[in-house]
């Protein structure tokens, strides 16, 4: 699922459905639309591009965080520039970000009050016609009509499902209603006719907070947003019902009953020559927070595997079983500059109901730029039945120590034999 979401500011192509209404809107708003470019200072060339739109008369411009993420992470390496409809360029300063909703505020210098986009006071109706605007690389501004289809279901962070042929290269561009008021911001695409927008309410909130107290340090702002977001997510998870569910012949596993955690299953019952019958349940939160090209966080993966030996000795079963659990990896992408190496511990554990003995492995690594934030990994392997095994595993990216420990505790207590 992760792979389907492509951040589309790098890709460039377009088709145009020029409708009369679209033309009108386009002509009215084009002076407040910008192409946002990140310039690598050393080489003097652009390293990424996206779109942006002015939201105040004094030069405040909204765009996606991922358009300017390289600058947010390495402010000395890059500078941000705009290109307007007349071909003028100028420098922008980063004012505020919302990493969770992929928004950023940048500001240009203005001499006289300028035209700007009005943010809508209300949300659109389902089926309402909307217009997505953006500036794909070197092709100029385009406008794409489409339909509002409500908020994306099964999603933790709010995203508008926009049915329309949104084309690549428009990240950070506005989506407006027929009155030319902004109702969303282009953020991602999921293939033909399916696009995702950040609701305009997130931008209103970000701008209002900025006007009240502008952030002193973008990195600290990001760290506190990540901490707050994982707190909200983890407390939702911890306080939602965990339904016990049977896996395979004998395993009992917890299924967290929240819409945004989705589960998939598979088994090898069709393979008659397999030495071990295996049933797998896989649950995950398919949303990750983009921090940089090689650093994602915020995703959760939970996996259970029930294994039953078919005419195997205990020792051979356990030998093959060990190979199954020997290589667990992190659930998110992160590199040397972003995180520490994993620290691991293992022990034999038994939950309070004394129902199962497991070999439990727990690993964690810390983020370099975001204090108090960790990636964690847990792996439990039952070791008390000769011919049967239950593997329980999860990874959580970007979580606080307290939440990670609480989740691990609840998870370990929830896995058992029937």
């Amino acid at each position: 699922m992760k792979a389907i979401f492509t951040l589309f500011f790098i890709l460039v192509s377009f088709t145009s459905h020029a409708a009369e209404q679209a033309e009108e809107i386009f002509a009215q708003l084009t002076s407040s639309l910008y192409q946002i470019k990140l310039i690598d200072k050393a080489s003097g060339e652009k390293s990424s591009i996206g779109s942006g739109f002015q939201i105040s008369s004094d030069g405040m411009i909204a765009t996606n965080y991922h358009v300017i993420s390289s600058y947010a992470r390495h402010p000395t390496k890059y500078r941000i520039e705009y290109l307007d409809n007349l071909g003028n360029t100028g420098e922008l300063t980063l004012k505020s970000v919302d990493v969770i909703n992929d928004l950023a505020l940048v500001e240009r210098e203005v001499t006289a009050p300028m035209d700007y986009f009005l943010l809508s006071k209300s949300s659109p109706q389902k089926g309402e016609k909307l217009f997505s605007l953006g500036n794909p690389h070197d092709l100029g501004m385009i406008v794409v009509p489409g339909t509002y289809n409500g908020l994306k279901k099964e999603s933790f962070s709010d995203r508008i499902h926009f049915t329309g042929s949104i084309n690549s290269g428009m990240s950070g561009g506005p989506v407006v209603n027929k009155d030319a008021e902004v109702v969303g911001i282009n953020v991602a695409t999921s293939g033909n006719q399916i696009g995702f927008l950040v609701p305009h309410g997130k931008l209103i909130k970000l701008y209002a907070e900025f006007k009240k107290s502008p952030p002193a340090d973008i990195k600290k702002q990001m760290a506190s947003q990540l901490l707050a977001s994982q707190n909200e997510l983890m407390s939702t998870l911890l306080n939602s019902p965990w339904q016990p569910k049977q896996l395979g012949a004998n395993g009992i596993i917890p299924i967290i009953d929240v819409p945004f955690i989705r589960c998939w299953g598979d088994s090898n019952t069709d393979k008659s020559d397999a030495l071990i019958l295996a049933a797998v349940a896989n649950c995950s939160l398919d949303e990750d927070t983009y921090l940089a090209a090689n650093l994602f966080t915020g995703n959760i993966e939970i996996e259970f595997k029930h294994m039953q030996a078919k005419e195997l000795s205990d020792s051979k079963f356990y030998h093959l079983y060990q190979q199954q659990i020997a290589r667990a990896g992190a659930g998110n992408r992160a590199g040397k500059g972003d995180v520490s190496e994993f620290q691991c511990q293992h022990d034999l554990t038994t939950p309070q109901n004394n129902n199962m003995t497991s070999k439990s492995i727990f690993c964690t690594r810390a983020y370099k730029d975001f204090p108090k934030l960790f990636d964690v990994l847990y792996l439990g392997a039952s070791v008390d039945k000769g011919q049967q095994a239950l593997v329980s595993h999860f990874t959580i990216a970007g979580v606080s120590q307290k939440n990670a420990m609480a989740f691990t505790h609840k998870f370990m207590e929830a896995v058992s034999w029937k």
């Binding site: 060990q322 040397k336 620290q343």
Partner: protein, 323 residues
């Protein structure tokens, strides 16, 4: 008037011993000599040793290649007219002779060590066969466990026998080297000792797994059990050299230790040099065994989670250290 002349090799090993009871001993390549040497660099009439006035004197008969005293400080000290002392070694041609008198002090008797008895036991045909049979069985068992699909007996047997042949190369090579260095080859003893030790190494593997399975991370037991294979390797090398080579106890110790350090230190170095600068994958010990090996009591979830606090501290610390 009795004199004992020993032909010895360059490595000081005895080749031939002559006990003579006459006042003049003639040495050379001719068949009319008292001691006939076949070395082509020796003259037909090479040297005489005469007993006069209670001492033996050596006379070189103007030979082409000369006669010299074996002397650490002066290699080319001529032996002509030398008054022989007990234990003198002389060089003639490419050969060496050692001259000793009847009252020559010999080294004290070496008692049979316990090792000698152990080695004798291990090299007996029954013990040797048993060791190799155990080795083949264990190797077959390991192949069976590692094979992800069903495997038949003959496949396992072929692999296991192949593996034991491979492991047999080591004792055979040691025996060959000791044979080449004019020591006893003692192939059976080398084989017996090596396979007995190989079997102990299988056992230490099993022990290591049991300990890794039953203990929590960072346990002292786990570190200790890791020393067992090192100790076994040292023992094997020590016994190999004890059987195969005559050397002082100190030198044997140094050799065995040196080789052990080379083996494990080298292995560690290779591992260390291959280590990536940053490892994005977690490294944990995933050893699990079937429930019959489950010996230790398990911890509660509370304890396990509580203990993980230290990991968070360590992770943060590793970042601070980098900065």
């Amino acid at each position: 008037m009795e004199i004992i002349i020993e032909e010895i090799s360059r490595g000081q090993k005895l080749l031939h011993r002559h006990q003579l009871n006459k006042s003049t001993v003639r040495i050379g390549r001719d068949y009319n000599n008292d001691i006939i040497l076949s070395d082509p660099h020796i003259c037909p009439q090479h040297l005489d040793i005469n007993f006069n006035d209670g001492v033996w004197t050596l006379t070189d008969k103007n030979t082409i290649n000369g006669t010299f005293l074996e002397n650490a400080s002066n290699k080319k000290q001529s032996a002509n007219q030398h008054i022989i002392e007990d234990g003198d070694i002389i060089n003639l041609g490419k050969s060496q002779l050692r001259i000793v008198f009847r009252d020559h002090k010999v080294a004290p008797t070496v008692p049979f060590s316990a090792f000698e008895n152990l080695i004798d036991l291990l090299r007996s045909p029954i013990a040797l066969t048993l060791s190799i049979a155990i080795f083949i069985m264990v190797a077959g068992g390991v192949f069976y466990l590692n094979n992800p699909i069903e495997s038949n007996l003959s496949q396992l047997l072929v692999s296991a026998i192949g593996m034991s042949l491979l492991f047999g190369v080591w004792p055979a090579a040691v025996a060959l080297v000791s044979h080449l260095t004019k020591n006893d080859a003692r192939v059976m003893a080398q084989l017996g000792v090596s396979f007995a030790l190989f079997n102990l190494m299988w056992l230490s593997d099993l022990l290591e797994n049991i300990v890794a399975f039953n203990t929590a991370s960072h346990s002292v037991m786990l570190i200790l059990i890791n020393l067992v294979p090192i100790a076994l390797t040292f023992t094997l090398l020590w016994l190999n050299s004890y059987i195969g080579f005559h050397m002082t106890a100190k030198r044997r110790m140094v050799t065995a230790l040196g080789l052990t350090v080379l083996l494990f230190g080298g292995g560690y170095l290779v591992q260390y040099s291959n280590k990536p600068e940053f490892d994005p994958h977690p490294n944990y010990n995933a050893t699990i065994m079937d429930p019959s090996f489950l010996l230790a009591p398990s911890s509660s979830v509370d304890d396990f989670v509580e203990q993980s606090k230290q990991l968070f501290i360590d992770a943060e610390k590793s970042i601070q250290e980098e900065e």
